[in-house]
Subunit: 392 residues, 2 copies
């Protein structure tokens, strides 16, 4: 690993691998094929935009641990991981996006060579970038293996953040603070939406003098007026309007760690409906924050929030938060715990959540969210962005 | 569809759907489940960053055509497609990222209700975002169907661009021209890499006065010095160095259409190895450009390029280009034709390629690429960026 690319000590990677092997043991897995780029990075440090082709980290219940990917991506593995050259195994370029042959056919050959082709093999059947065809190839080429769904196995090991991870998330928090400062400086009616997005991306990538801004796993999402009802819409070249509200779903990132913070921006004098929901959501954050402490469950927090909304005449039927940490596109969520009524996960110190009380109505929307880490003293916000409807 | 979100006339969408149904007929498909966000958008206009949860467009060989996704994303479908409300079908939020139930279980119920659950169903087994678990769910819930791999079926229909699509790609070309102008203005040794990335993202999103910049399906890739050997590396907070070269793999985007153009930037007086490869690659573009005309094959072009390299003492064993058009993360390639020796695809007018003569060596790299559309008169570059080693 190149020094400037080192984000964690070898001991931290070793601890992550050991923890994952323990989880494998509990599931009786002999081998684990990890295709999710976030899981690959968390286990080994591997960091590059090469997840558009098939690649994975392969881990045995014993010593086995190697990176498998396209030939031209091997240098990225040398620069960003501590794996020996012999543990960086590549497939030839004619396997890339070919209808006839599949990189997983090639991987199967490697797995056989290394004599780890029997027993129980875990694959991330519903994580990103592990396709139905990848599964078919492995099943076909490794008939002596028993494949088991290991979706989320590594993701769950990531739930409790180390002190160094919390530091990176707080740095991402500094980055998102800069982004909102820029927005308040430059946003104005008449500006094209893409111009505001350009400023957001500039501020988020520039970061602070001390902490560079990394790319976020989701691009800035924004919707104004009736478009604010569509919560995953991206910008176009239309203009921002006076007397209208716009949600901004944004994050800061540093070393692939994310700190999402959403706000709603209003040009002019906000109507009562905006002020009403602002008050209810601000109160809900005040009520929930102290509850982000060990022992409470995700379900309890969600229920407290939904009850608060209900008592004020609002209803929400989708989840109001999820676990966060390191991530790659297309999602900055960790895909483990969710803040929803039926999630029984018990909070532990070091877990991190995007508490996401976004409200979408038929023809408008409102978001005011916080990224929160669980501590013995209750929730700690990872960024300090003015918690209010942003009015200009 | 909202007027400001309309990118193509209803007739163009209808023609695309008809063309796709014809391809389905040839494969004997009764139903097609399209999960690739680029294919979904091309067929219906659907455009939002919601591909991190399961969603698809479902198309029958006859009239059937509906969007299927998460409840909160229905407004995006209303704003960006011409589908009737009854053709926007959603699954409840507790299906999102749940280990117990899967959105495809729910889709199977819909498919049964609509009585299209028997016969041959095409699924994109190796396109993005169609997971192994999605396949398992469908297979399990629709035992009367025969599932067929339709990876690339829609992608291939997209290969020849319409005049309106070429216009959008040329606008994306205007955007990338602005990006390189900005780079030449601001790049300097001592600058942090993220600061340069911030400028690139700002210029690329600002676009031109007339054409907004959309987000690109790949973030700016850059590597300097030894890191230039790692072709899919992204930025960090380290500084740009004097007397060193850096590859920049970038694209402009507009209305989701991409125009990738890569260049190499050098601070100081370039060493001979940079000047040598610059000359060879520039010549190769001059030689290949006229060959981008109907009748030639992808393989012939690739072979001509590899031979030219070989004659000048260089070897390249990976592909040197691929089809481009509309795209979503994680890749701006269309995943159909590749410029590689064994690709027999015959060029037709309106096809678009990223001709990608990137050269990666052990401890450095060089990229100088063009996006090209095939015309009767030969290849036409979609952008006009100075074709040289960028020296400052």
């Amino acid at each position: 690993m190149k020094d400037s690319r080192r984000r964690f000590e070898p001991a931290e990677y070793a601890a992550r691998q050991a923890k994952t092997r323990l989880a494998m043991e509990k599931q009786g897995l002999d081998l684990l094929i990890v295709s999710d780029p976030s899981n690959m990075c968390w286990l080994t440090g591997f960091d590059g935009w090469s997840f558009y082709v098939h690649q994975c980290v392969v881990m045995g219940s014993q010593g086995e641990l190697f990176w498998f990917g396209r030939g031209i991506d091997a240098p990225t593995a040398y620069l960003t991981t501590d794996l020996a050259q012999s543990e960086v195994i590549t497939y030839p370029d004619h396997y890339v996006q070919s209808p006839e042959i599949h990189p997983m056919d090639y991987l199967a050959g490697i797995v056989k060579q290394r004599r780890v082709h029997t027993g129980k093999i875990g694959v991330e059947k519903d994580n990103y970038y592990f396709s139905a065809r990848a599964m078919e190839s492995l099943t076909h080429c490794l008939p002596d293996a028993q494949f088991v769904d290991a979706t989320g196995l590594v993701n769950w090991q990531r739930a409790i953040k180390s002190p160094q991870e919390i530091i990176y998330m707080q740095r991402a928090g500094k980055v998102i603070e800069q982004v909102y400062q820029r927005i308040m400086q430059v946003a104005e009616p008449g500006m094209r939406k893409n111009e505001l997005a350009a400023e957001i991306l500039h501020a988020g990538t520039w970061g602070t003098t001390d902490y560079y801004g990394d790319y976020t796993a989701i691009v800035p999402l924004m919707g104004m007026g009736e478009e604010a009802a569509a919560c995953h819409l991206t910008w176009d070249g239309t203009r921002l309007e006076q007397n209208n509200g716009m949600f901004l779903e944004l994050a800061g990132a540093h070393n692939r760690y994310h700190c999402p913070v959403s706000r709603t921006l209003y040009f002019g004098e906000p109507s009562t409906k905006y002020r009403d929901i602002e008050k209810v959501i601000a109160e809900s954050i005040e009520i929930l924050l102290p509850l982000f402490k060990p022992g409470n469950t995700c379900g309890e927090l969600a229920q407290t929030f939904f009850t608060h909304l209900h008592n004020h005449g609002y209803e929400k039927n989708n989840r109001c938060g999820y676990s966060i940490g390191m991530s790659y596109p297309p999602d900055w969520g960790e895909r483990t715990m969710s803040l929803r009524a039926n999630d029984p996960t018990i909070l532990q110190a070091g877990m991190c959540f995007h508490f996401m009380p976004g409200m979408w109505f038929d023809d408008w929307g409102f978001e005011m969210t916080e990224s929160i880490t669980v501590t013995e003293q209750g929730g700690l916000c990872l960024a300090n962005v003015p918690r209010q409807l942003l009015v200009k």
